[in-house]
Symmetry: C2
Subunit: 82 residues, 2 copies
């Protein structure tokens, strides 16, 4: 089983990386770009288990809270895949 | 319109970041994690245009080739959203 974790900055948090991307694309002639935000995706391979999906989801949430996301400034979203 | 660009390492490319995540999760007691890979997501805001979807997709592909991805070691995937 796989878990995809999307981590991105909370709205309102300064995103210099996104602004750099946006400005660089404009400089390269891509004028249609009006904004950019960069986040990360973490793909986790998980051992197959008989636990219910809710329990697995809860474990991955713990991983986010403890390690994968800085919840002061970042949001996360989890997607489980068989 | 929005474009989501997912950029990740090609298979076979050494991923020290992913290995660190995987090992750290194991150390924290999450034994079910057998592997981890980290990639990035770039969300682009695009001006609304009358161009066909294929043309917009082609432009975003150019952005990836020129700036967003290092195609020697990275793959990318584009998703357009209205």
């Amino acid at each position: 089983m796989k878990a995809l974790v999307y981590v991105g900055l909370k709205p309102g948090v300064l995103d210099p990386q996104g602004r750099t991307i946006s400005r660089s694309l404009n400089d390269l002639g891509f004028d249609e770009v009006t904004g950019a935000f960069q986040g990360k995706v973490i793909e986790l391979n998980l051992k197959n288990s008989d636990e219910p999906r809710e329990a697995i989801q809860a474990r991955v949430e713990q991983m986010c809270e403890k390690l994968l996301a800085n919840t002061v400034i970042e949001n996360y979203r989890i997607e489980l895949k068989d």
